[in-house]
C-alpha cells in the first residue's frame, strides 16, 4: 500500500533538514486534490487517482533534497510547483488510458469541453487555482470581521444581490462592496504569492 502523506512529512522533516515544513504542508494540501481531480478527469477510479497522487507527491518528496543543490536557487514554492506539475503530467501520460468512464463527462462539467491531452496543463492550472482559492479562504478568514466576511460570502459565493446581503448583514450597500472587493483583493494577492508571481513574504 502507498505510504500515507505523513510519511512525506517525515521525509521532509528528516531528509530535508527541516526546511520549509510549512510550505510543504501547504503544498500538499493544495496539490493533492488537484492531482486527484486531474487523474479522475483521465478516467481513473477514485482509489487509483488517490494512489497516483500519492506516488506523485512521494516522488516530489524524494526530490526535495535536490533543491539545495539547485544553483538557480528558485524559491522552494516555485520549484515544488514546477516539479509536481511535470511529475503529474508525466505520470498521467505514461499510463495506459483507462476506459474513460465518467472521465470525459467530469471534464466537460469542469471545463465545458471534451478532454484532449493538450488540455491537461490548462486543467491543472484551473484546478490548482480553484484549490488555491479554497485553501486561501480557510487561511484568511480570520483576518476579517465576521460581518465583512459574511458580506463577501453572501454576494461573491452565494450569489445574493448586494442589496439583499446588505439587509442580512446590516451593512450599507457601499460597505458590502467595500467588503467584498477588499477580500477579493486579498485572495488575488495570496494567489500571486502561492503561484510564485510575487515574493513570498506576506506579513499577514
Amino acid at each position: 500500500m502507498a505510504a500515507a502523506p505523513e510519511t512525506q512529512v517525515s521525509l521532509i522533516l528528516r531528509l530535508a533538514d527541516s526546511r520549509d515544513a510549512a510550505a510543504w504542508d501547504e503544498f500538499v494540501a493544495i496539490y493533492r486534490p488537484v492531482i486527484v481531480r486531474l487523474a479522475r478527469a483521465h478516467g481513473l477510479q477514485q482509489f487509483d487517482a488517490d494512489d497516483l497522487a500519492q506516488q506523485v507527491l512521494l516522488s516530489v518528496a524524494r526530490r526535495v533534497p535536490d533543491w539545495e543543490a539547485d544553483p538557480q536557487r528558485a524559491r522552494f514554492r516555485t520549484w515544488l510547483g514546477r516539479v509536481v506539475r511535470n511529475a503529474a503530467l508525466n505520470a498521467l501520460t505514461r499510463r495506459k488510458p483507462d476506459r474513460a468512464a465518467g472521465g470525459t463527462s467530469v471534464l466537460i462539467l469542469i471545463n465545458g469541453k471534451a478532454a484532449t491531452d493538450c488540455d491537461d496543463e490548462e486543467l491543472l492550472e484551473l484546478e490548482w487555482r480553484r484549490q488555491a482559492f479554497r485553501w486561501i479562504a480557510d487561511q484568511i478568514r480570520d483576518e476579517f470581521q465576521p460581518q465583512t466576511w459574511e458580506a463577501f460570502w453572501l454576494t461573491a459565493v452565494d450569489g445574493l444581490s448586494a442589496a439583499e446581503a446588505a439587509k442580512q448583514t446590516g451593512k450599507s450597500i457601499g460597505a458590502v462592496y467595500v467588503a467584498r472587493s477588499r477580500i477579493m483583493a486579498r485572495f488575488q494577492q495570496q494567489v500571486r504569492t502561492l503561484s510564485g508571481e510575487e515574493a513570498a513574504e506576506v506579513a499577514r
Partner: protein, 741 residues
C-alpha cells in the same frame, strides 16, 4: 491629483485598492458606492476579472459537498424539477399516469435525492403493495467495471447486516445495465432535518438515538463492516415510533478488503469524519465511534463540532482542534454525558471506547437512569473521575486534570488545549518540570526521534515535551536545537500563550541559514502575532531593541516587514519613510554579514529591490496626497526604472506631479518617456485609467494629437458606459483642438 470621493472618479478606485485612501476618504467612497452603480462595477472589475470572480464562486461552492443521499420527507417535484428531468431519463415509461416512470417492476413516484455516484428514487412495489427507496448508480459510472463491483460489494455488505437499526436491503439487481438496490421506504425525517428545524435535542432523546445507532453500528462491525459515513443525514427517524435507522452504507467497506481500505477523498461532507479518516489513514471500527460522537455533539448543541468554510478547513480542525466545550453551548447537558461524547471524539482511537456494543450498553444504562433515577444509578464508570485518557473539553474536568497534573508533577504538556486557567497552570507546571522531563530521555537525539514520531503522526501536542527536552539536552548541538525549535512552532501555535511561539520563531529566524526558511518563519510569526492581536507589542518590542542596538539584525528584519506591509498600521508618510529606512538598513546589514562570512558581496536581490521600490512608490503617493509635488515627482522618477511592471505608471505619476508644479517642460519629457516605457501588465480597467490619464496629460500640455491614440485605447479597454462616454467627450475635444492647430 486631488481626490474627490463624493463623485465618480477613476483615480479613487485604484487608490482604494492600493490602500492609500484615508479613513474619511474611504468612508466617503463607501457612501458614494451606496449610490453609484457605475463605480460598483468599476470596483468589481478593477479588483478581479470576471473570470476570477466566477472561479472564486465555483471553487467555494462546489466544495466537494454532494447533496445528501437521503433528503427528507416527500419527493419535491417543484424545486427539483431540473434534477427530476435529468434523472427521469434513467427510467422506462410507466403505464400509470401518476408515476414518473418505471425501474424493473417498481413504479417510480418521485426523486428522493442524489449524491456523487447515484440517485435515490421513491418507488412502489406493486407485488407487495408497499413503498420502497431505490438507489441507482449513475449511468456514467455504470460503464466502469470497478465501480460496478464496488456498488455490488457495498450492497452485499450492507445486505448482510440484519438489524432493526440498520436499513434493510431488499433486492440488488441491474436495470438496462445500470445497477440498483431496493430498500424499504422510511417515512419520517432525518436527524439532520430535526436538528436544523428544532436545534438541540432533549437528553432522553439523545441517549435513545445514540444507543440505537451504536447498536446498529455494533451489528455492522460484527460483520467486519465499517460504515465510514455516520452523520445526521444518514440517521432516519421513523415517524410515529421511537426508532432510528442507520442508512447509506455508500462508503462502507469490509475491514478485510485491503484494496479498499482507503477513503474516497472527500466524498460527501467531511464534517463527521474521524481524524484518522481526515488524514487518509487506514481505518478500523473506532472511526465510526468518533463520527457517532460528532453526531451526538451536534444533536446536543445544535451545531456541528467542526465548522469551516472549506472541506480542507474542516479536516484541519478535526485533526488539530478540540471543539467548544459542550456545556458552554448547552448547559443542560450533564457532565457525564459530555464526557461520553468527549471520549467518543478522542483524537487518538485508543482513547475511545473499546467497541460500539460497549457504547450501546453504556447508553442503555444511562437511559434507564434518566428515566428512573431512583431505581437505576448511573453506571459506575461515569461516577468515578479516574479516567486515564486526557479529556480536554469539559471545563470542570480540564481544571481538575490541571490540578492533578501539578500535584503529581506530571508533564502537563499533554493538555495544551485546556481553558485559560488550566492552560496557564499547565504551562507553569511545564516550566517547573522541564528538567525532570529532560531526564526521561537518554540523549537529545533520542528525545528528537520521539518528538519526530509524534510530529509525524500529527500529534503535535504530544511532540511538544520531547522537543522541549531536546532544547534542554542539546547543549552545543545548535543544528539539532534549531530543528527542535522549528518543530515546536506547530504545537506552540495551538496553546493560549503567545511567548513560547515568539521564542521559537525568534530562534529560528536568528539561526537558520536559509533565507527561505527565515522568511517563511517570519511570515508565520507575523501572521500569528497579527491573529493574536500582538502587532503593537511587536512593534514596541523591536523598536526598543533597536534603541539599544541600531544594528540588531532581527529587529530590523522584522520591523521592516511590519512597516512595509502596514500590518495593522495606518498608511502614512512616516510609516513609509520608516519602512524604506529599515529596508535599506537591512540591505546594508545583509551585505556586511555576507562580507563577514567571506561570501562575495552581491547586489540587492531582486525581491529586496522590488520591495524597496514598492515602498518608495507608496511614499511617493503619500507625498502626492500631501501636495508635496516636487518630492513626489523626484521620487516617482527615481523608482520608475526599478520595476518594469509599474515603470510606465510611475513615469506618468511623475509627469502629473510636474504638471501640478507648472513645470510643463519636464512634464512633457516624462509623459513621452511614459509612452515608451514597457506597458503595464494589469487588467483592462487599470489600462483604461492609465491611457485616459495619458490623454488628459497631453491635452493639458497642449498636444492634442498625442492625446488621441491614448483616448482611443482607453475607450477600447473599458466596458463601462459612463467611462466610454466621458472618454469619448475628451477624445472629441482632442480631435477638435488638433484640427484648429
Amino acid at each position: 491629483m486631488t481626490t474627490q470621493t463624493n463623485r465618480c472618479s477613476t483615480a479613487v478606485v485604484s487608490q482604494f485598492l492600493d490602500g492609500s485612501l484615508s479613513r474619511p476618504e474611504e468612508a466617503a467612497f463607501e457612501s458614494h458606492l451606496d449610490q453609484c452603480e457605475r463605480c460598483r462595477e468599476t470596483l468589481d472589475q478593477a479588483v478581479a476579472s470576471e473570470r476570477d470572480w466566477n472561479e472564486l464562486r465555483l471553487s467555494l461552492t462546489t466544495d466537494g459537498l454532494t447533496p445528501d443521499s437521503f433528503p427528507d420527507g416527500e419527493p419535491q417535484s417543484a424545486s427539483r424539477s431540473n434534477d427530476l428531468n435529468f434523472f427521469r431519463r434513467l427510467l422506462s415509461p410507466s403505464d400509470d399516469p401518476r408515476m414518473l416512470g418505471r425501474i424493473a417492476t417498481y413504479e417510480i413516484a418521485g426523486l428522493l435525492g442524489h449524491g456523487g455516484m447515484g440517485v435515490v428514487f421513491k418507488g412502489f412495489d406493486p407485488a407487495v403493495n408497499r413503498s420502497v427507496a431505490i438507489k441507482m448508480m449513475l449511468p456514467q459510472f455504470a460503464n466502469s467495471g470497478a465501480a460496478r463491483q464496488r456498488f455490488f460489494r457495498e450492497a452485499q455488505a450492507a445486505g448482510a447486516v440484519v438489524h432493526e437499526h440498520v436499513i434493510a436491503i431488499l433486492c440488488v439487481s441491474t436495470w438496462q445495465e445500470t445497477p440498483y438496490l431496493v430498500m424499504p421506504y422510511v417515512r419520517g425525517i432525518s436527524l439532520q432535518k430535526r436538528i436544523d428545524d428544532q436545534g438541540a435535542l432533549q437528553l432522553r432523546e439523545l441517549l435513545r438515538i445514540g444507543m440505537q445507532v451504536a447498536s446498529g453500528l455494533a451489528a455492522a462491525h460484527a460483520q467486519g463492516l465499517i460504515h465510514r459515513d455516520v452523520k445526521p443525514a444518514n440517521i432516519l427517524m421513523e415517524e410515529g415510533v421511537e426508532r432510528v435507522v442507520l442508512t447509506d452504507f455508500g462508503l462502507a467497506r469490509a475491514v478485510d478488503d485491503i484494496r479498499l481500505t482507503r477513503t474516497d477523498t472527500l466524498v460527501g461532507t467531511p464534517q463527521y469524519m474521524s481524524p484518522e479518516q481526515a488524514r487518509d489513514e487506514p481505518l478500523d471500527f473506532r472511526s465510526d465511534l468518533f463520527s457517532l460522537g460528532s453526531v451526538l455533539y451536534e444533536a446536543s448543541t445544535g451545531r456541528p463540532a467542526f465548522q469551516a468554510v472549506t472541506s480542507y478547513g474542516v479536516l484541519r480542525k478535526i485533526n488539530d482542534l478540540q471543539p467548544t466545550p459542550i456545556q458552554e453551548l448547552n448547559p443542560d447537558i450533564p457532565d457525564w454525558f459530555a464526557l461520553i461524547i468527549e471520549r467518543l471524539m478522542a483524537k487518538n482511537p485508543v482513547d475511545r471506547f473499546a467497541s460500539a456494543s460497549q457504547v450501546a450498553k453504556l447508553l442503555r444504562q444511562c437511559l434507564s437512569h434518566v428515566e428512573q433515577p431512583r431505581l437505576t444509578p448511573l453506571p459506575a464508570s461515569l461516577v468515578q473521575a479516574d479516567h486515564s485518557p486526557p479529556f480536554r473539553f469539559t471545563r470542570r474536568f480540564a481544571m481538575y486534570t490541571a490540578l492533578l497534573t501539578i500535584s503529581l508533577g506530571l508533564a502537563a504538556a499533554m493538555m495544551p488545549g485546556g481553558t485559560d486557567d488550566g492552560g496557564q497552570a499547565a504551562s507553569q507546571a511545564t516550566t517547573k518540570n522541564k528538567n525532570k522531563a529532560a531526564k526521561k530521555y537518554a540523549s537529545a537525539q533520542e528525545a528528537f526521534q520521539i518528538g519526530a514520531a509524534f510530529y509525524n503522526s500529527r500529534n503535535f501536542a504530544a511532540a511538544r515535551e520531547p522537543f522541549e527536552a531536546v532544547i534542554q539536552l542539546a547543549k552545543d548541538d545548535d543544528a539539532l536545537k534549531l530543528k527542535a525549535y522549528e518543530a515546536l512552532l506547530q504545537p506552540y501555535r495551538e496553546i493560549p500563550e503567545f511567548e513560547p511561539f515568539q521564542t521559537a520563531a525568534e530562534y529560528v529566524i536568528a539561526n537558520h541559514k536559509h533565507d527561505a526558511s527565515r522568511s517563511l518563519t517570519r511570515r508565520a510569526y507575523l501572521s500569528f502575532a497579527y491573529n493574536r492581536g500582538q502587532m503593537k507589542n511587536l512593534v514596541a518590542r523591536y523598536e526598543k531593541q533597536l534603541k539599544k542596538d541600531p544594528n540588531d539584525w532581527m529587529a530590523v528584519y522584522l520591523l521592516s516587514e511590519i512597516y512595509s506591509r502596514g500590518a495593522g498600521l495606518p498608511p502614512s508618510v512616516e510609516h513609509s519613510k520608516r519602512a524604506i529606512e529599515l529596508l535599506e538598513h537591512l540591505a546594508k546589514l545583509d551585505a556586511e554579514r555576507k562580507k563577514a562570512e567571506g561570501k562575495p558581496e552581491t547586489e540587492l536581490s531582486p525581491a529586496e529591490a522590488a520591495k524597496i521600490s514598492r515602498e518608495k512608490g507608496r511614499l511617493a503617493m503619500q507625498y502626492m496626497r500631501a501636495k508635496d509635488y516636487s518630492k513626489a515627482a523626484a521620487l516617482y522618477e527615481e523608482i520608475a526604472p526599478l520595476d518594469t511592471t509599474t515603470h510606465a505608471w510611475n513615469l506618468k505619476e511623475a509627469a502629473t506631479a510636474r504638471l501640478k508644479l507648472g513645470d510643463k517642460e519636464n512634464a512633457l519629457r516624462l509623459a513621452l518617456a511614459a509612452e515608451k516605457a514597457p506597458a503595464e501588465a494589469r487588467n483592462d480597467q487599470l489600462t483604461h485609467f492609465f491611457e485616459r490619464h495619458m490623454g488628459d496629460m497631453f491635452l493639458a500640455l497642449g498636444k492634442p494629437k498625442k492625446a488621441i491614440p491614448h483616448y482611443e485605447i482607453a475607450i477600447r479597454k473599458t466596458t463601462i458606459d459612463g467611462y466610454v462616454k466621458g472618454t469619448q467627450a475628451s477624445l472629441q475635444e482632442a480631435i477638435e483642438k488638433a484640427k484648429s492647430e
